[in-house]
Every structure is written in structure tokens, then in C-alpha cells.
Symmetry: D2
Subunit: 247 residues, 4 copies
């Protein structure tokens, strides 16, 4: 008997994380990771109400202990440790300020989440993904997707913490894509280039018309599109922006 | 009454071009452009037999006259000049040799097809795509996709003609994406990174196992995925390679 | 007896070309190539007057015949065909306009100079540079430098002809650097990122203060810096911009 | 009276750091920072013996306290806090191993030095460099150079820690170049692409012939070349490799 494949989304908020969880929940049970339970409770409820399956686990991606505990719980829920996909969507708060005013703490906290978090999450989830790569009944190759930003390819003034972390996260994604592609794991980095339209957050960039904000459901659709690619056509890097974005 | 939307594929051969035509023919009538009628006759027949609609037109993308004539014929077939998508898939023959042995003719012929051809094709098809952008009954934003190669981002020794042309084609795609995105046209460049598995061509890189050759139907699937993106989530650049490709 | 080493600069105008010629003339005789004799006559005079040696040859880099004739003349002047450095500084006129208004002629003329010209010039001059690579009395490795622009790494809207040509020229430089580096020829591409302060041309971007315009003598200094690098430390790509340039 | 300008090199070892210190010591007093005094004692002696001026200070770039103390000492030595140049040359040990075997400690130690270290060093030294930018008797604009590696632009398999840190360090350099360029500080990133020929370390890549190893004195020469550029021609990024390097 084959172990039940599942999907894990790290960094579930009301925007990209929730949309991705909903999209993948159409095909797999989903595990929602976030620091605060408020981030995933309503979403898990919603997915379960609509016939999907979702469980939320409180976890801090920047803590090896916290992640170890979360993955133990995941393995209990889904014996066989068979992950069809994993999405790393966690991000530190965005800081834009003169470089000489950035505190060591601000600089380090971007590292904690976007780099150490991405590193630890990858180390925990890759063995589960590698299992799926050997699961002959798998519908699609296992997929590990990192949500990135333009700052991963373009470093602007006054965003040193954000840019360094995003460049680094992209480097991690590429390095993992090259190492684990031949083992059947599809690793991809997504450059989300612009503000996202976060439902329920009317205050977020309220000034911007909808057409200037990226639709998170569309991001989720693109991620799903990555997941269903066969081993003979992996896309390892995509950009996503509105039609009116300057770039 | 809305004009019938259609799709035009330039550079139809047995590989990517044919797969793309088949994929888009599930939703739209397709126009197949190639220099020789042998390139599209069987394919058009096949699509028409299976309930789709395809017409082939002999055209040389590097000739303004030839393209003008082809687009006149297209307009007769599809009054209203309403193009839902266009794919530029034409490419000059690949030449790998010491730089000092490359002839001016070889260097120029890569330019003729990949650059002048891409330029002329874009100029002819963009007005049709811009019409679709204003068609309120359109299912998806009009899409212009350029098939590229790794040589568009990485210039190796002894492939000067191929690399210059691919760098240039990518530049054209990016420039057009920035100019026509705000007008609702989705322009994308695809880095097809590796050998393609061309059906019926058993002799093509016969030595390579299938897993090392990109599946052209998957390329077509990725192109379709680009086409169905909304204006709030355009992807302007993708790479496609097998899981075992070195990059 | 060793053949007299010399330097050839293609595309000599009042800006970068003239500065480069003056700089290299401190160490080598220089050959000035330009289409019109008015471009180099005064400059050659000036260099000769100041104790250097310069000869001007009228040549069209986009014509194989014209270049062949120019290099025959060069070989007569400098028997031994021993080129210490070559700088490709020719460029087509810059065109910024809506893509649909660009004429085929405009698009092609950028190709003619920046791509075919760069190709032909490289083919003609590389054998001379390869000779210098074997000249045991050479002071520095032979150097082939291509003057490029930001448009070689960033393709903006409405500059399709310029961007394609610059991307392509950069690809050529990289490909040649990889092929001829192991043979001792130092090939480099320079991204001149911003307007240049052209002496005697008060009308050029007159509105801009000097600090916003790149000093062509400094470009020449950087090119000289590339020339004197040993084979154990080649720089193949540099960018040059003012301290206040946005990038 | 103008304050005495000086240069500070962080990460002084027998290779690049020592060569850079020797080169800049021809023009300025140099401060050598390294964790162990054995790293700089002989070098400081050598520079002082040859008529230059060098002082060594033991400092850990990844510690804010250690750096603060070092810069206090610097300010005592050179009242006026007038830094003509600063070179960040510190790097964590290179680790190449399967990703799943990389320890959190290994991953974090690359961050500690290459990212936090680069961040803290920049914050400490920039006020000194900004002073030099306002020093009307300065010979050249103040320069901040980061020694990087190919891993800053290319992330390979099995080098996740090294690649993330180098991508990040490059992002920091670019961000700082954009923020502080307009204030007259010249920030640059150097991609040192290949093994370095470290004098006195016969065991280092002993198998490689000298022509395949980058000459650290040449790196120093290139850094000096960056330093002497005027504000009207800053180079913000260079690559340095041997003529035979594959790239």
C-alpha cells in the first residue's frame, strides 16, 4: 500500500500562502505551517469544510527544534512521509531604510527566516520529497517551490537586508534544483515581482488599483503548473508580475 | 459579432512547433507557418481530422514580403484579425565551429531567422494581438511567445552565431514584454535548455536516452500555461529542462 | 627581429574612440578606423604632433571587403601583423521609438554595425592578436575590447534595435573570451552605463551637468587597465558609470 | 589640517588580503584586520620594514563588539576617521558536500562571516569613507571593495552555504553601491573566479600549474585600479580569472 501523499506549505498568511494551500488542497491533503495558529485556523477550517483536508501546525521555520517537532507531527498524521510538494513562503518583514540605520537585529532577522528558515525547511522536507520521487503511484514529480521577490535578482538601495536574503534564497533554490533534479525532485524559485493583492486586507497598498496588484490565486495556479510538469520538462525559475508592472 | 480568434505558429517542424500547434488547436483554429509545405501539410491534416482547425501557409519569416503576403492570407481566413496567441519558433541551423572558420553567411543566416525573422513576425502579428487585447469576449490575454535556448543567457565558445542570435532574441522578447504588457499583450521568452525529443526523428541525438531529451508536448503545455495567465500574473520568462540536465 | 606591435581602434569619434586612441598611443602606434576621414584626421595629426604615431584608415566595419582592404593596408604599415590590442567601438545610431514604428532598415542597420561589424572586425583582427600572444617580447597579453552599453544587459521598451544588438555584441564578446582566452588573447566587454561627455560637442546632452556624464578619458584608462592585466588575472566584463547614475 | 587618510583590509591572509595590503601600502598607511595576530604580524612587519606603515588589529568581523573595539583603536591611530579605502576580504571556510549533510552550524558560519561580517564591517567603515568623500585633498574617491567568488553569480550543487553567502554578499555590494555612489563612495564587488595562487602555501591546489591559479598581486592591482577611478567612471563589478579558466 502506498503512503498517502501530502503537501506542506510553510509561511501561510492571507495572501500567497492561503491561495497555494487552497489550490493544492484540491488534489492533496495540505499541512499549513505558520508561527501563529491564527494564521491557519480559519483557512484549515475552510478547506476542511469544502471537502478538502488541511491541518495546521504551529512552527517557527528558523528553529531546528520547532521544525523537527512539526515534522514529527506531520509523520504521525501522514505515515510514510510521502510529500508530493512543499512550498516555502515564509518571509521576514520588509525593511526599507538608510543602510546606516539598519540594526544588526533587522539584518539578522531577514537571514533567520529567508535563509536559515529556507535551509532548515529544505533539510526537513527533502527526505519526504525524495520518498515521493520513488513512489511509483505518484501523479507528478515532487516539487519544492521557494517564493521569492524581485529583490532576488535586483538589489536596490536601502533594502540591504531584504536583497541579501532574497539573493541568498534564490541561490539556495538553484543549488538544490541542480543537486536534487537528477534524483527526481523538482525545485523552483519564483520571482514575485510586485505587490500582491491580499484578500481581506483592504489596507494593503489600498492606493493601488487591483490591476497593479498580483492575484495570489494566479500565483497558486502557476505553482500548480510547476507541480504537474514531468521530469522531461522542469521549469526551475519563473517570474510573475502584472501586465502594467515596470521592470 | 466578435471576430474569430486564432493562433499563429511560426516555424512549424516535427518537434516543438507541432506540439504547440496541437495544444493550441484544442482551443483555437491554428495557422501554421513554415517555409516548406512539407513541414505543415501532414500536421494540418491531422489537426483537421481530429476535429480541430488548422491551415498551413508557406512563408519565410526573414522576408517582409513573404510575411506580408502570409498575413494577408490570414486576414482573409480570419476576418477581424483577432489573434489570441502567436508563437515564434523559427530558428536557423545550429553551427558549432571555431570562430575563425565561421563564414559571414553562416553568421548572417542566424541573424536572418532569429533576429530579423523575430522582428518582422512581431511587427506583423502584434496588431492582431492588440486587437485581441481589446476583445471583451477573449478568454485570455493575447500571448506572444519566443522559443529560445540556453544560448540566450549563456554564450559558450565556438557558438558565436547561435549565441548572439539567441541573446538578441531574448532582448527583443523582454523589450516587447515591457512595451506591450501595459497594452494587455503577454510576451514571454522560453529558454529551452537541452535537446528536444523530436518524434519520428529517431536519428536525432539517438544516443541519448529519452529522459535526457525534453518532451515537446510538455513545452507546449508550458506555453499553454503562459497563455491562460491573467493580466494580474504574467510570467515573462521561463526555463525548461529535463531533471537530469546539467546547468 | 620582432614585428612592431600596434593597436587598432574601430569606430573613432570625438568621445570614447579618441580617448582610447590617445591612451594607447602613449605605448603603441595606433591605427584609427572610421568611415569618414573627418573622424580621424585631426586626431591622427594631434597624436603624431605629440610624439606618438597614428594612422587613419577609412573603413566600413560592416563590409568584409572594406575591412579586408583596411587590414591589408595595416599589414603594409606594420609588417608582421602583430596587434597588441584592438578596440571595437563602432555603434549604429541610437533609435528610441514605438516598436511598431521601427523600420526594417533601422533594425537592420543596428545589426550591420554592432553585430556583423563586430563579427567581421573580430575575424580580421584575431589572427593579428594571436600573433602577439606568441610574441615573447610582448609587454602584455593581446587585448580585444568591445564597447557596449547597459542595453547589453537590460532591454527596455522602445529600444528593440539597440537592445538586441547590444545583447548580441555582449554574447559575441563572451563567446570569444572563452574561445581565445586559452590561446592567450584577453577579450572583454565594457558596459558603458550612461551618457558620455563628448569633448567639443557642447550640444550633446547639454542639459546634463558634467558629473552626470562619463569621462571618456576614464573609459580609456579602464581599457588600458584591462590591457595590462596578465594572463593570470583577466577581467572579461566591466561596467562603467558615474557615481550618480541610477541603475 | 586634513586628517591622515588610511586604508583598512578585513580578512588578511597570505593570499589576496596580503597582496591588497602591500599594494595600498604604497600610497596609504594600512590597517590589517584578522582574527588571529599570526595572520598579520609578519605582513605588518614587512610593510613597515619597507618604508610603508601598517598596523594589525585582531578583530572578528562577525562580532559587533569586536569591530567596534577595532574601529575605536583605528580612530585613535588615525584621528579624523578618514578612510581612503576599505576591502572586505573575509570568508568562511569553503564547504562542498551533499546538502542533507550540511550542518546548521556550517550553514550559519558562512552567514556569520560573509553576510553579517560584511554588513557590520560596512556599517563601521562607511562613516569613515563618507568623511574621505568630503575631504577636498583626497586623491581619489573612497572605495569599498568586496572580494567575492563565482558562487556569487552561479549556484552549483552541493555548495549551498557558500553560494547563498556569496549571492548575498554581492547583493549587499550592489545595494551599497547604489546608495552611497551618489554620496561619492565607490563600492565594488569582485568575482574572483578560480583558485588563487597563495604564496608560501605550496600545498594549496599543488596539483594545479601556476597558469591555472589567479595571481593575488594582480587582484590587488585590479583593486587599486578601482580605487583610482574618478567619480565620473566608477566600475561596480569586475570578474577576474586566469586565461585558461572554464566559465
Amino acid at each position: 500500500m502506498t503512503a498517502q501523499p501530502f503537501v506542506v506549505v510553510a509561511g501561510v498568511g492571507p495572501g500567497t500562502g492561503a491561495s497555494v494551500a487552497r489550490r493544492f488542497a484540491k488534489a492533496y491533503p495540505v499541512v499549513l505551517l505558520a508561527r501563529g495558529t491564527d494564521k491557519f485556523e480559519k483557512l484549515a477550517q475552510e478547506i476542511n469544510d469544502q471537502g478538502g483536508k488541511a491541518i495546521g501546525i504551529s512552527a517557527d521555520v528558523s528553529s531546528a527544534e520547532s521544525l523537527a517537532s512539526a515534522f514529527q507531527q506531520i509523520e504521525k498524521e501522514f505515515p510514510g512521509a510521502n510529500a508530493a510538494a512543499a512550498v516555502f513562503n515564509a518571509a521576514a518583514g520588509f525593511v526599507r531604510k538608510p543602510f546606516l540605520e539598519v540594526t544588526e537585529k533587522e539584518f539578522a532577522s531577514a537571514w533567520e527566516v529567508s535563509q536559515k528558515g529556507a535551509f532548515l525547511f529544505s533539510q526537513h522536507v527533502l527526505p519526504f520529497l525524495l520518498k515521493h520521487a520513488k513512489d511509483s503511484s505518484a501523479s507528478h514529480p515532487p516539487t519544492l517551490i521557494f517564493t521569492g521577490a524581485t529583490a532576488g535578482v535586483k538589489a536596490n538601495a536601502r533594502v540591504a537586508a531584504f536583497a541579501t536574503s532574497n539573493f541568498a534564497k534564490r541561490a539556495l533554490a538553484i543549488s538544490l534544483a541542480k543537486e536534487f533534479g537528477p534524483e527526481g525532485v523538482h525545485v523552483a524559485w519564483a520571482n514575485i515581482d510586485g505587490p500582491i493583492d491580499i484578500p481581506g486586507r483592504d489596507d494593503y497598498r489600498k492606493d493601488l488599483p487591483a490591476e497593479q496588484k498580483i492575484d495570489p490565486d494566479e500565483i497558486a495556479g502557476a505553482y500548480w503548473g510547476l507541480h504537474v510538469q514531468s521530469k522531461r520538462a522542469f521549469t526551475n525559475e519563473i517570474d510573475i508580475r502584472t501586465s502594467v508592472e515596470k521592470w
